[in-house]
Symmetry: C2
Subunit: 159 residues, 2 copies
């Protein structure tokens, strides 16, 4: 792909980030998923307008691309996002097997405008007993039986 094409896709992500704030959808974030030189998914931050804390630009772009392509697997796709992803979105990018991430703002720039994803990175990196949100182990002897049942299934679809 030429640099010009890369820039066109990033420009599309940035345009979505501005659309999000101009239309009151949510924070200033936009993203597109690209496959074979064409946009197959678009997203903007819509957390506050649709009351969905998972409705980040990257998440919506990934979900739309998967719907468009009929697969949960986006290998062969690249993501252009107006800002470096938070851990939730980065996790989704990994689960979706996206090939490469292009990002416009660093998380350090975002922090200067009040969006502190570093806090989320710090929390995710902690041992579970040290996190701000308490994590309590409960009924492990019962919970494991689902994995045991899964292991017995012959037609299970691993991913």
């Amino acid at each position: 792909m030429t640099d010009n094409t890369h820039q066109q896709f990033m420009a599309a992500a940035i345009a979505l980030s501005k659309q999000a704030i101009r239309e009151g959808r949510g924070g200033p974030y936009g993203a597109v998923v690209v496959k074979d030189g064409a946009i197959v998914g678009r997203g903007m931050n819509e957390v506050t307008s649709v009351n969905d804390p998972t409705a980040h630009a990257e998440m919506t772009a990934i979900r739309q691309a998967c719907e468009q392509l009929g697969s949960w697997n986006l290998a062969g796709c690249e993501l252009y996002t107006s800002c470096e992803p938070c851990p939730m979105c980065l996790g989704a990018i990994y689960w979706a097997r996206v090939d490469k991430i292009y990002y416009g703002n660093t998380k350090e720039i975002a922090a200067r405008f009040g969006f502190n994803s570093q806090y989320f990175y710090d929390e995710v990196a902690k041992a579970r007993e040290d996190r701000q949100i308490a994590m309590v182990l409960l009924m492990p002897e019962d919970a494991i039986t689902a994995f045991e049942e899964w292991e017995q299934q012959r037609d299970r679809q691993s991913y």
Copy 2:
């Protein structure tokens, strides 16, 4: 809440984890969100059946709870999940401001059955230049203008 109630909610999460595999929805994961002693959101893993890599049990339970409560903010809610969350789901839990997490299986137990969320934890904890999925900074001078526009908005809704 009594221990018995806690166990009932975890039992509901575990039942969903088994329903997911018995009905061929996805991997053996279930979760419920609880507020004031009542379940307000339910989820099971549906990644492979609905072609959505973000359709983890915790994500779906959070989204359903937010829809039910009409808010992206789940402060005052607790999450019961059949397994320790991956970074994507943990990120969503933090974004949603969930009070507390009860989990049935540790990620170490999940890994014994082929579900290695530790890889995702390791990747998220890395510096961006060291990750397996390449991250490329592109057009930062343009991308920052969305944050600058956001800062000028008087009616912006921070979160």
